[in-house]
């Protein structure tokens, strides 16, 4: 199964431990995470289901290609990392 982990910056707002997820696409994997942690959805996705502008998702060290539909496919053993692009001031 793919593994998913989250930036420590998210832990300031809510708990999101790393873990193994099912799902053949990023969307399916995230939906599984959100089913157990519904509040996390609004931190990573906007109300239309797209990745927030300043949220980044890498799979095996590469940025995902489809930030809107999250259709990138996942394979067993993939490493998914959710973090933030720089924002501040």
């Amino acid at each position: 199964m793919p593994r998913i982990a989250f930036t420590p910056n998210l832990r300031r707002h809510l708990a999101c431990p790393p873990g193994e997820v099912g799902g053949a696409t990023l969307r399916a994997a995230l939906d599984e995470v959100f089913a157990a942690n519904p509040r996390l959805r609004g931190y990573l996705l906007d109300e239309h289901g797209r990745l927030r502008k300043h949220v980044a998702v890498f799979v095996n060290g590469e940025p995902v290609g489809d930030r809107a539909a999250l259709s990138d496919s996942l394979a067993p053993g993939d490493e998914v990392f959710v973090f933030q692009a720089l924002s501040g001031g």
Partner: protein, 359 residues
Amino acid sequence: MSDRLLVATRKGLFIARPEGGDWRLGRPAFLGEPVSAVLHDPRDGALYAALRLGHFGTKLHRSDDGGASWNEVGVPALPAEGENPKALDMIWTLAAGGAEEPGVLWAGTLPAALFRSADRGESWQLVRGLWDVPERARWMGGGYDDPGLHSVLVDPRDARRLTVAISTGGVWRSADGGETWRLAGQGLRNEYMPPGQEFDRVVQDVHLLSCCAAAPDAVWAQHHNGIFRSTDGGESFEEVTAAAPSRFGFAVAAHPTEPGTAWFAPAVKDECRIPVEGRMVVTRTRDGGRSLEALSEGLPQADCYDLVYRHALVVDGTGTRLAMGSTTGNLWVSGDRGESWRRLAGHLPPIAALAFAAG
């Protein structure tokens, strides 16, 4: 008696409390997070703070214990319409519903939309009647790329009567709790529009509306183009021409019981936006806008570059205490109707909004 002052800043929410005849500023909640709007609900004492997280979106928190602890509640969602629908950028203003409708809240957002909650912010519904007005296609961005709804007035005599303002999109009124909307704001004048379109009510760049709580038909508008006064609830406005040192600004605070009294924080127009000649003043009218006086005691009178955002000049329910916050992180308070000011803090993060909380 106002016993708290809420200070929403770029780096957290500060709460000041009276102490020995002065104010004492507490440690911030949400340290490091931009707070875009704050509300004290006088009906149940709840506090609300809207966050505009740089990475993780807009959040809304409610406190039922005076700010000691906070719980995240729901946020508005913009409708999924069109090929690339807009997402919520921030909650720009929050307003409590009427006394007879406990739990009802209103939120004005960027991009411009009005939302209603009937459950103290747990869930939000788009006010479809305003979203669907055909004139929305002509709303434009003001200081932001998208138009934003920054002012919500709820008529204390009849909470179904709502008045909102959009930058830029004019003044809109509903008499039926938000079901249907009419474009109001006759007489507002936008100087920068092409010749012949200055009085087009849809393009008016109202920066903020504020009304007299005891006489809510007295509505003041700080507009991009100047100061305007309405005596009919915002249906029509007259321009206040006596507005020295500048008619430009963002903030306005209407006196809670005297319909002819209001305060403003003038700045150099259009993009410069600093105090005129580096001197910080608050202007006040007490005669319905026929004259304005510049009040400067206690405010910096040289080399001052502070700008007061639209929600950062407020008056309390007695009309005696005022507070003003700036983008430079100065927070001033007055205990004598703005006659004199004292700096409560000088090194805060940029201040977005203030609110007095009584009780």
